[in-house]
Symmetry: C2
Subunit: 353 residues, 2 copies
């Protein structure tokens, strides 16, 4: 079947769409980070987070976006760091990040818990560049100190250990080029590399050749946008970029609950990676389902939830109490994946003995 | 000429699209805020800021967005507050806000300038709910204190005076309903109300009747989106909602420099408000043009820049040094508008004597 000119494979995508300008710089940063982690024998997880955009014009005024604050990715990254992983956090610019996520300027602005204490030294400061040292002090509201100290301590520990590397993307084009490059760099870690693909990636895009240079002028009645499908990159990721050894976890977000498990199973079957985590848009903060290969299922996870009508797949539901505001489901998601990744690594080591 | 079913006037828009759920609550908050400012005889400016979205599905996964960090609006709001105005800051949820804008988690994360100082008290804390008081202290890095103190002081003064009221929108539907309601509340202030419309509003939208409930499924080849024009609300705003007395400032953003002044003039002519501020996407941080009515031009602004080929309009360019990183163009934009607003108010007072 001849390919329509607007049907992109991964290969035709990369040969027709231009790489983002910062790519080489990003690659060398990742190369160095991965080298250091390899020396220390650490596991590394690539966490992707936030939505990708599809600009409609070259001088970007309008764009198509995917709804994603980045909560799943930013929260999971914190738990991976806590579990001793090094993390490459590849996120949508300005979306949530580990640690600072607790202090959103909209919902928990840090300016609200800083106090000004007048200074005790009555002499005017002789140091005009730093009056603060002689007069007013800034301190933290007492009832906020404990939580802030906990976050700040973890933040500083991660920075001191050098276990967090941060990259940003905006457009789906940035994302695809960066994902391929980072995967290729991580492939040297073989089975010690995990890929946690929580980003909300555009399904459709406007090829550069179809984009207008200037702002599309309104006043012409209705607006018609015709877009092409973004190539499915899980296939080359599994078969090629990650060197076939990576532990790959993808996500499926659905709004119709009836489609969730079937579509997650289809995805696993089609790409042959390790885990698909399915979530319903309206229940995702307290409920997810793990779809994986039955053969690779650790005995502890087998249970009454296994779907006997689909013998190839294991289906395992993870739920927390929706009303427990001190619990984040990502803690359990990450714990489960760390367990499964350990088995994945050990399996490779066992087979090389 | 019969109206095509997909051509919306402002009236047909509000009679067919549902109001956002928080609207009544928002209106009562604004009503109370305006009442307090009227008592104190303050000028009030409505600052709109950030981009509006057009959801493509009712269970929102994808949406069309307008590029806008909210820099113009958030920065201008700070200068209006400094100039003694009360401000209603109506912004895109999670976009930049006055004061916290200086501490973007991406470019200037506040966690980077907090230090942990070990406590001097060697006894374990007897107060388990507040160990911070007995052990570690959190303080601000010395070379960051001066700037933070300045922002924090202004922030607290504004909160103490109650001169800042914050509202949020996400969709263009939220925005239109809220803009109408807030304008109607502000109309009691007559000429003391200014409207600074810096938000990047969608030109096209999907009427509720055309939206699908569930996530549009990819895998069907290409995606076609057909959208209708958003009604131009400047007309009812000028003629109706603001009671004809508001000082209305709109913005025009263009990517083609040749279109900037002509389109700004067309806008002023079409709607009959007070000022159109034109900006070129690539030059907007250091250059804007004020288009206004020649008759209403204060003598001090007349100058060699007036466009003699367009006798009805005055054209006044405002430029700053692009390399001066300590200068924000919004300081001058606001200063100029405060001047013009004063004349607007005085003009009314003079005519009532």
């Amino acid at each position: 079947m001849p390919q329509s000119p607007s049907l992109f494979s991964a290969d035709s995508y990369f040969s027709t769409q231009p790489p983002p300008s910062g790519l080489e710089h990003d690659i060398s940063g990742v190369k160095e980070f991965v080298r250091r982690q390899k020396e220390k024998g650490r596991n590394v997880v690539l966490v992707t987070s936030g939505g990708t955009t599809v600009p409609l014009e070259l001088n970007v005024v309008r764009f198509l976006d995917n709804f994603s604050a980045g909560t799943r990715g930013a929260t999971s990254a914190e738990y991976f760091l806590k579990a001793g992983y090094a993390v490459i956090f590849m996120h949508r610019q300005f979306s949530l990040q580990p640690f600072s996520r607790h202090y959103s300027h909209s919902t928990n602005p840090f300016l609200d818990f800083l106090e000004i204490e007048p200074g005790t030294n009555m002499q005017p400061s002789s140091d005009v560049s730093d009056p603060g040292s002689m007069s007013s002090q800034i301190c933290v509201t007492p009832n906020k100190r404990k939580d802030l100290l906990e976050v700040l301590t973890a933040y500083k520990a991660v920075h001191a250990a050098g276990t967090l590397h941060t990259l940003t993307f905006v457009t789906v084009n940035d994302y695809l080029w960066l994902l391929r490059a980072v995967s290729q760099e991580l492939s040297v870690l073989k089975r010690k590399a995990m890929y946690y693909l929580a980003a909300a990636v555009s399904d459709f895009f406007l090829p550069r050749q179809k984009m207008s240079e200037h702002k599309i002028q309104s006043g012409k009645g209705s607006l018609h946008i015709e877009m092409d499908q973004v190539p499915k990159i899980l296939k080359p990721m599994v078969d090629d970029w990650t060197g076939k050894d990576g532990f790959i976890v993808s996500f499926k977000l659905e709004t119709d609950p009836a489609l969730l498990v079937p579509k997650a199973q289809i995805s696993l079957e089609r790409y042959g990676h390790q885990v698909v985590i399915g979530n319903d848009l309206n229940r995702r903060k307290y409920e997810v389902v793990f779809i994986s290969w039955k053969d690779a299922l650790p005995p502890s996870s087998k249970g009454p939830n296994s779907d006997l009508s689909n013998p190839r797949y294991a289906e395992s539901w993870l739920k927390i109490d929706p009303h427990d505001h001190n619990k984040e489901i990502e803690e359990d998601i990450v714990a489960e994946l760390v367990k499964r990744h350990k088995i994945w690594i050990t399996g490779a080591e066992a087979s090389t003995k």
